[in-house]
Amino acid sequence: MSLLENTQTTLSDQELLKKFKPADQVEAPKDLSELEREEIERLKKTGVDIEAKNRLGTYLQTNCGVVSCNCNVKGVELLPIKEAMKRYDGLKDYMWTLIDPNKDVFTKETKEHLDNGYFIRAKAGEKIIYPLQTCLYIRNDDVAQRVHNIVIAEEGSELHIITGCTTHPHLTSGLHIGISEFFVKKGAKLMFTMIHNWADEVYVRPRSAIAVEEGGTFLSNYVSLKGVKSVQTFPTCFLKGRGAIARFNSVIVAPDGSHLDTGSRIVLEAPETRGEIISRTISYGGTVVARGHLIGKAPEIKAHLECQGLMLADKGVIHAIPELEAHVPDVDMSHEAAVGKIAKEEIEYLMARGLSEEDATSTIVRGFLNVKIEGLPKELDQEIQKAVEECHKGM
């Protein structure tokens, strides 16, 4: 077993691709009725509630098949990406404009063998209150899912998307490649919340980029609390217009055996843009690389980076890599990084109020992971709290 594990962790990107079956060679369900109860519950715990009424619309892709794609509001267009490409001349103003298809083997693979993905467009001026949910679901073992998503928030629009990425409750192994390109037009606001709920032998390779125009806002929340073999994600946001804003929040828990190389980059290209990257990471024996990279290229920009890590087991690694890069003098950029175990004095402070050591520790861990996520559905918020509790109990 240990030999096998060793070979798996040292797989090259090329070997990784070969290891899994392409999703288009595996059967996918035709519609929602084919999903079992436990699958629906699993999706719910990943933020995707296909029975919920307070969602604007749902896109559910299982392996390569689109199981659900409906949206109840006229102001928002939701299509499988393949259909959108047909309808809009290959989406050539958007597709692969922010990410180079030759970037690595995963981008190349997706360019050549696209399974599907979602296309979402909020029309100009439309302000959408309820979130739209999308789900990329791997249902069979050893499948490689190759997805490309495009999201456009047209001028003055407002949109909230919750994306849940997960696997079948009894599945252990798979590969998910997700290319995502986001376009936030003038004065628009896009909030994108991504929940990862994978299995112990799943490899995850998202490749994301975002362009924000004048006065636009992009808010990203990323939550990964469960076991996963390996995640490698480093979205880059380009603030292209004056006064554009980007904020990335990440809450990452690395159980034993997991390796998460995560982070965000904000390129502040226009004057008066603002950027913020906040990550909270916990290792219960797994490895987390928490990257953050702020690049200031225009005057009067302001950006802040914060990486906080808690080591809650004797083994495991948290590697915080905060980077600040200024190209002009008139920038205000800062970072704050701290990694360590829970301070004894914090535990004793709570114990002096009558809490047991265990309760004191979980209160501190809960607080640590309590990065406020605006507009998160209540059930999901509770689920996150519960997962944090369970994570801690598992120690």
Binding site: E348, Y349, A352, R353, A360, T363, G367, V371
Partner: protein, 240 residues
């Protein structure tokens, strides 16, 4: 309420307390005077049971129970409470939740925060960016919520502006049931440098600590006036 017999305490192998004897009766408030570094805070931390305060000799009895080796949180449950001089910040934990935790789920602390005009702080993270006076208020609200029988207060007036001393004083009087003249159940042990707190809270006895020993006992006002007039040196003479 509290008996301390011949207590010797080391911190990191360094002898800090050297034979403390102290008895605090039910309903009594005692004051502890002494220079910086004389061992006052060590005595409070040892009574509460913090790690790193190593009892080499002696015994602490609280409500008839030997607590010398009892864990910190069990002492709290038994009725001991302590206000921290420099409490840590609890990221992501709101004061509202902290007050409920202290009160075992009760809303009493939250109600008091509203009563004392501190409600704006309920949804702030505990101690994050609090001023000196705000920290004291937060500590005292937590204690009021916890409702201990013996409260240990470490310089409750430090960092508090004159305007707020009144509020702090009122909270302490409430904590120590100063409104009751008979059947008062709550006791207190207060460290004070400046003695200002004596203007707000009446104390029954005073003690002076010098170099890890209690060297003088008596009426707290008399002791404090003595220190103001003659300095701690005069107290040292009692040693001989």
């Amino acid at each position: 309420m509290l008996q301390i017999e011949d207590l010797w305490v080391d911190i990191h192998g360094k002898e800090v307390l050297r034979g403390i004897d102290l008895e605090i009766g039910t309903g009594e408030t005692h004051c502890l005077f002494g220079r910086n570094g004389s061992g006052k805070t060590t005595l409070l931390m040892t009574i509460m049971g913090f790690e790193g305060y190593q009892v080499k000799h002696g015994k602490i009895t609280f409500k008839g129970v030997d607590i010398t080796n009892m864990p910190l949180n069990e002492r709290a449950k038994l009725g001991l409470g302590l206000s921290f001089q420099r409490p840590p910040t609890l990221r992501g934990v709101k004061l509202r939740d902290m007050l409920k935790l202290c009160g075992n789920g009760s809303d009493y602390g939250v109600q008091l925060a509203v009563e004392y005009g501190f409600e704006a702080f309920l949804d702030r993270e505990v101690n994050l960016g609090f001023s000196g006076g705000e920290i004291k208020k937060s500590e005292l609200l937590q204690l009021l919520s916890q409702n201990p029988d013996l409260t240990l207060l470490d310089e409750p007036e430090s960092g508090v502006d004159v305007e707020n001393l009144n509020v702090i004083g009122d909270m302490i009087r409430r904590l120590l049931e100063k409104d009751k003249h008979r059947n008062r159940k709550k006791s207190g042990l207060i460290i004070t440098h400046t003695g200002f707190i004596l203007n707000y809270v009446t104390a029954d006895k005073g003690h002076v600590m010098l170099d890890g020993k209690l060297v003088c006992h008596g009426n707290p006002i008399d002791i404090f006036e003595g220190i103001q007039k003659h300095g701690y040196e005069e107290c040292a003479k009692c040693l001989f």
